[in-house]
Subunit: 160 residues, 2 copies
DNA sequence: GCAATTTAGTTGACACATCAAGTTAAAATA
DNA sequence: TATTTTAACTTGATGTGTCAACTAAATTGC
């Protein structure tokens, strides 16, 4: 009795939190975000969300809210607000699509292009450093493992 | 000229976003969070933050705000507010430490214990499923890779 | 013992995340 | 063509994440 009570006192007996993938991912995510935010601050004044929007708008012909949402997984509501503020800040130009009046085609202003180019080298350097920091085999396993975990988040129950 | 302009149009030419570790981590983190939130909702009414606090309080003799912060990496301000609301909700008991009047020792109420026990099986099952989903060797490599990435987030510049 | 520093916790401000409800336009279907 | 359904975007509510300023108690160094 005492044993089983004891046993259930920890989430996983003898497994420290920093071995748990969920905690590790949460922590790493927070640190990656704050690093990216810092790099962007040091290389212009784009916020991380503005940066993410520009990455898509920059690479996409006739970018729209929904294309940005599809690529980045950012919530539609947030994109709406972010784009709105970027238009106000003279970073994006919006034009209602003539074929479909619901959608709004977005283009970067020259100001946005300049800011994007300013941040790009540091951001790209970081990405390639990340890619090179892991031996290729390890990197592949990481991506595979992330795929596996990603698939598991779709499950609503866990078979034994 | 056209080529170099073109080249710089993408963050990493020919690398789709879902190969970039930073995006993968961000997405996985969001999905893990929403899955955990859903499981907790289906097995009681604890929020994810309340759950995280209870995991520590449950496993720690004389838990305090700062011990929770140290273990979980949750922001001190958030812990303060979360603990406050949990005391109001009759989930935690607070007692000023007699040896150090700054710190507050936290204990679970029986209500919290019951809710924790109610959520525990599903949460533990999820964790062990995560652990089993990856072959041990892959799991070790994943943890190693996460360690490496974690260390890289400490860098303020990226050597070539 | 006393000033300076550090540590524990609180509070406020603000950006970001998630969800749900609403508007308008397009597409499907009857 | 009229009705229904779906899609694109907006807006509001609420919870979470991050940061900085603040109070009070303990510790450190004279």
């Amino acid at each position: 009795m005492a044993d089983s009570a004891n046993y259930s006192e920890q989430l996983q007996p003898d497994v420290p939190l920093n071995r748990l993938v969920t905690y590790r991912i949460a922590r790493l995510h927070a640190k990656l975000n704050s690093q990216a935010t810092r790099i962007l601050k040091e290389n212009g004044k784009l916020s991380l969300m503005q940066w993410r929007v520009l990455v898509i708008v920059n690479a996409t012909e006739n970018a729209t809210h929904s294309k940005i949402a599809a690529q980045t997984q950012i919530d539609g509501g947030q994109i709406s607000r972010c784009v709105k503020s970027m238009i106000a800040a003279d970073l994006l130009l919006a034009e209602v699509d003539q074929a479909d009046h619901r959608q709004i085609n977005l283009r970067m202003t020259s100001k946005a292009k300049a800011m994007f180019q300013q941040a790009l080298p540091a951001m790209r350097k970081r990405q390639s450093y990340f890619a090179k920091a892991l031996p290729e085999e390890q990197h592949d396993i990481l991506i595979t493992a992330l795929d596996t975990l990603d698939a598991m988040t779709e499950l609503s129950s866990f078979p034994d």
